[in-house]
Point group: C2
Chain length 366, copies 2
């Protein structure tokens, strides 16, 4: 891909936050990546520019018909000061799957990874280095046509913004409380559930707000057809340890194919643990729990990596999982994946990609 | 509602387009209405300002999680130069229903109608006056928080933009060709199908594009659960004349409650025609057609008002409806509703609201 990336220097750099102040996605770095699409030119004008507001016509497609896809991944600082990305190729492949569903022109996956690396290298000083901290990377594409007919946009913008984020857990993982949502539905087969697109998250807000009011952390989504089968938890995939096996809902068109999900499955198989991707009915799950066979429950996602579930409610049934503590397997998966991400554990699976800081910075065409 | 609406004059007004150039939603007027929401102030700073780009932080909720609702209605020019809105109270009531589903703070319906009237009065010269033409009004609300956590935004913008639009049909109504979509799904119960929100339209683009490639104008959506029951056509509601009765899918949580749909049902009842809001299976519909009992099919919506369907395809079954022509009932409904909208037919139902041009213009606080 011959396209070059131009760089426009900011007049003024922001003060870096103290590491105690990092939350999730509230602070943004000094620069962002931007690229435009038109039917005539394709994706063009790749540039790294000062982070700042974007200007759009009020009739732009994104404001009316939600034509959008996004991704989320992280850059990690190792103890020896290198910077690693975790499986960015998986994120970019998924972004193109999402583009396909949302009628958005595909991206050159390798080129966008190159853009991410260049932007991260320029913003190296923003990557926090305490345990669990990282630089969150958010690429997204929006339709920008100023036209109200319900049609795919002819023009788009791809942006990448960066946010230094704190450790999801404090000193130790804390299991979350979830309940089975039986009124609201996140997605259904034939819809956009497998795509990482704005509308899925918009649809989830009401149930999430309800769960917080009821004193829970997240909702467990059921399928939209029979309201019987488990799909996801909040915005994570979900796993169940049943005796010595691990079950997770099979990808069915309405579940997001998580990068952490795929990584957990690969690790478990490598460790000789039976993983079953299958339809998991909530009824069967609660029966397994009654028989003391449900040993651990955990969510997987880029933000928390592994999020143990300590408490599960479905109608009048309540389960305390692993005595409300973090299970051994959950802990081992967390330690292994975060170990690979932070360079503490050797990456035998080729999951990480190093950002060559000096080389990337030098290659910026001013 | 004591809130006043400020007005900022544009330096330069655009040239008005010739009536031949009007399409749908491609041209916008000189001014727009804007209003902001914050937790502390509620909806505030109502203003009419020159139409132009809006600036948003790239982390704004709308770009990532699609928190958005919109409405669509029209202002019509009567022969005696008055300006009428068609049932704006219904649109605003629906906007609040959409807000509720999308976790967006509710609007003061009467105040937003007042804002619409003021804006339309100021832009009076943009209202086209040939038959079938009108000024399309698009109010919409977007979440604007610069934060990547998946939570409802704490800040919002409500905008109203105006677009002069051409006649949907030329000299006579032309029936459309539709096919039954059996792969993609628009919405499911428990989701956001009944709300007028961006994500529903994003999800529909792929099927719409497919239908155009196959030589059809629109798709007929089936329910997301059993893929058996008819929901909507494209972005319209749908009606079937079966012998002397009229059937339309009952509102079930995944169908948009159209203002034109409600108006058609009221008119039919007034005319003594039996209207059944019920589950309509595609199988039953095609059986009725086989027995020559399916007399007319038409879609209803703000854009076309009544859109006759002349050709219907489901798997290998094909129906030509009303010999591919516009049925008598479709024509009568179209003539009646557009007659009321344009002031040609006396509005005995109290559906229209006149925009008091002089009064509204005088009341603008500069």
């Amino acid at each position: 891909m011959g396209q070059s990336i131009t760089f426009k220097k900011a007049d003024h750099l922001k003060e870096k936050p103290g590491s105690a102040k990092l939350g999730f996605g509230k602070l943004f770095t000094d620069y962002m990546f931007e690229m435009d699409y038109s039917t005539e030119k394709g994706w063009h004008d790749a540039r790294i520019v000062p982070y700042g507001p974007i200007q759009l016509d009020p009739a732009a497609t994104i404001f009316h018909y939600g034509q959008e896809v996004f991704e989320g991944l992280k850059a990690y600082r190792t103890e020896d000061k290198r910077v690693l990305l975790f499986r960015p190729d998986k994120n970019m492949a998924r972004m193109n799957q999402s583009c396909d569903r949302l009628n958005i022109p595909k991206i050159d996956e390798k080129f966008v990874i190159k853009a991410i690396k260049k932007l991260v290298a320029i913003e190296e000083a923003w990557i926090p280095s305490e345990p669990g901290q990282s630089l969150y990377i958010r690429p997204f594409i929006i339709g920008t046509d100023a036209a109200l007919g319900v049609h795919p946009s002819a023009t788009y913008k791809l942006l990448i913004i960066l946010s230094p984020v704190g450790a999801y857990f404090g000193n130790s993982m804390s299991p979350v409380k979830i309940y089975v949502e039986d009124e609201f539905v996140r997605a259904v087969k034939g819809g956009v559930g497998y795509a990482k697109t704005a509308g899925n998250y918009a649809a989830s807000l009401k149930a999430q707000t309800k769960s917080e009011k009821l004193g829970f952390d997240q909702v467990l989504w059921l399928d939209g057809v029979e309201h019987k089968y488990i799909e996801e938890v909040g915005s994570m995939n979900i796993f169940f340890k049943i005796d010595d096996e691990v079950w997770t809902p099979a990808l069915n068109g309405s579940i997001l194919p998580g990068v952490t999900r795929a990584s957990v499955i690969e690790l478990l198989k490598k460790w000789g643990i039976t993983v079953k991707e299958k339809k998991v009915s909530v009824n069967k799950l609660f029966k397994k729990a009654e028989k003391q066979k449900l040993k651990e429950v955990f969510g997987t996602g880029t933000a928390a990596v592994i999020s143990p579930v300590g408490f599960l409610k479905w109608e009048d049934h309540v389960i305390k999982v692993a005595n409300g503590k973090t299970g051994k397997l959950s802990q081992k998966l967390y330690d292994t994946i975060t170990g690979i991400q932070s360079g503490k554990i050797e990456d035998k699976l080729g999951w990480t990609q190093e950002v060559k800081l000096q080389k990337e910075k030098e290659a910026v065409a001013e």
